[in-house]
Symmetry: C2
Subunit: 365 residues, 2 copies
């Protein structure tokens, strides 16, 4: 069989540093597991703006559409903030990738690692053993709705508009992914919106309810207003198993959940498209954390989130569950042994660099 094709898009800030550790794991797989990937590399975000004047070139997009999976580092940084042309910001590259690849389902696990339970600002009892999965809609809503833009309305005044829009099929397909994932986990799904204020949220609630009745009655479904969701996550996060929500609420709630774990540098994500006739789906994997410009280039970043994203890639795109588990276990063991990058450093542990964390994980493998 032909090798599986991977596109690496390291992006900006700490992106290249953390992605380098994934390369090392791939080399190891090649040598030790006889699993070989064809890896190509491209630019996205600020790096692409600097090189090509656009945050995602047509050639890179074409490449992303051609490969089996994309691994992304992070995009953005102060250098490209406040662009005069709104299409020329690093984030536009990432958003175009999500949209053009049809990656409508964003899976964001919020997991507390035993070794890191004290890294959270939340009390250990509240988060110990936490394992929730947020499924965020990723190609719709206010991120992509039209009309949008800023217009002059006279008198030197302006008006900024964005449109929150969801159709029934958009809601159903992401809800289906969430129901299916819930079935493989704790069998509980909580859907979050503001149906009490927004009609798009009311439609969301109605369609999730309908799909539940039609196909997923065995899954326990609840609904929550997103503001209450933000509170319940803090009050008692373990009440949740899988959460499904829209693009904007998902952005905020998944970041809240991620920070609650105290281990933002440990959290991976997968963005998946619809399966084709052969059951293959477009996919992009990236850490939940951002480009962290303040520590970029200093070998300080935590590579674990990106390595765990690669483990998700092995599992969801290539069905290599065993190899995914090897990586996950190696990371757990290294943490158990006391190795810590600065972001998760704690008294009595051994502070290490990005590279040394990578070394340790490879040694463990």
């Amino acid at each position: 069989a032909a090798n599986k094709k991977l596109l690496f898009l390291p992006g900006d800030g700490i992106g290249p540093e953390v992605m380098r550790q994934v390369r090392r794991v791939i080399d190891w797989m090649d040598r030790k597991r006889k699993i070989t990937f064809d890896v190509s590399e491209g630019l996205v975000g600020g790096a692409a703006i600097d090189a090509h004047g656009v945050p995602l070139s047509d050639a890179t997009l074409a490449e992303a559409l051609a490969v089996d999976a994309v691994m992304l580092g992070a995009v953005g940084g102060p250098k490209w903030d406040n662009p005069t042309d709104y299409t020329k910001r690093p984030e536009a590259g990432l958003l175009a990738l999500r949209k053009e690849l049809g990656l409508f389902a964003n899976l964001r696990p919020a997991v507390v690692f035993d070794a890191l339970v004290d890294a959270s600002t939340l009390k250990a009892d509240v988060i110990r053993g936490l394992d929730i999965l947020i499924v965020r809609e990723l190609t719709g809503g206010v991120y992509f709705g039209e009309p949008r833009g800023i217009t002059d309305i006279g008198n030197g005044e302006r008006r900024g508009v964005n449109t929150q829009v969801y159709t029934t099929p958009e809601i159903r397909r992401v809800a289906r992914v969430a129901f299916e994932l819930a079935r493989k986990r704790g069998n509980k799904l909580c859907s979050m919106e503001k149906a009490n204020v927004m009609e798009s949220g009311l439609l969301w609630r109605q369609e999730v309810t309908k799909l539940h009745q039609e196909e997923f009655q065995d899954v326990e479904l609840s609904h929550m207003y997103a503001d209450n969701g933000a509170m319940q996550l803090l009050k008692n996060p373990k009440q949740f198993d899988v959460i499904v929500t829209d693009n904007l609420f998902g952005d905020i709630l998944s970041d809240e959940a991620a920070m609650m774990t105290g281990s933002l540098g440990m959290l991976p994500s997968a963005s998946l498209g619809a399966p084709d006739a052969n059951g293959n789906r477009k996919a992009l994997y990236e850490p939940v954390h951002g480009s962290a410009p303040d520590i970029a280039g200093r070998d300080l970043a935590n590579p674990c989130a990106t390595l765990l994203s690669f483990a998700m890639c092995l599992r969801y795109s290539f069905n290599l569950d065993e190899d995914a588990k090897l990586i996950e276990r190696a990371i757990q063991n290294v943490l158990g042994g006391g190795m810590r990058t600065s972001d998760i450093m704690a008294p009595g542990m051994a502070r290490c660099s990005t590279t040394v964390m990578g070394d340790s994980i490879l040694r463990e493998l």
Copy 2:
């Protein structure tokens, strides 16, 4: 001088119970402080739907427009969920009040009471002494933007739309309130939006920056993406003084901040309009918590948030700072003495009912 006019809208769930304690404080002021109010009472939310078929009758709205300040309990409950007519939900009554009274600035303090520092799910060190103020825009954005609604798009499919819209004057007036409040506090303002994704957020950032340069250079201004804001609130809440944000982000972030304090039952809010020629502004005061249908009618609710909302009313609408402080101090002392309603109960404290909490506060006064 004529008496000050207050309209009481107890609303649904625990609303009437907690508002009853405000009545008792007003009686006390009448007797002991010789400050007399003309208090009228009306229906809002589910209670108004049951009585008049609408969540806010024209007569009640007219009354709200005529008085000096409105005190509101809470609206909503399962009884009125999933209405067939979207204008017939309890929340529509509250939203109409906000819009018709022009209450564009919603002040939501997130304060940790010393006596309650252990009630939070966050570590005591992280939140001890926390005192931040979230200024939420309340009459614009996706809550009120047009077009909105659900339409059939054929094939049995539907489309739900809401519109996020802000104009320059809407942004400036709420930012001005926030800058002015920051000046009276820690002199720091953080503005939150998603300028990296939404043009309405970009306009927000540009206008806040402009106003800062024009009139508030003495205030330290920063900007944060709202998802990062949700994280930073958890990571290090004390980095903030005043936060200004839009209606929807404000809804979620202020609830997150409120829950972080661990004392949701303690948090008041004020919603203010623009000052008229005499410096008077329309105003509505309500607790941050909701109608809590699960404990309604059982004399279990914490009346403190509503009493502190009344203290805000005395301060902002009637310039009675000294009386506001009396109430605030009475509540602090009662907490210091160990009295706790169920929501803030802790080992070694004395559990009490709504009424007994009211008794104790009155005794303290």
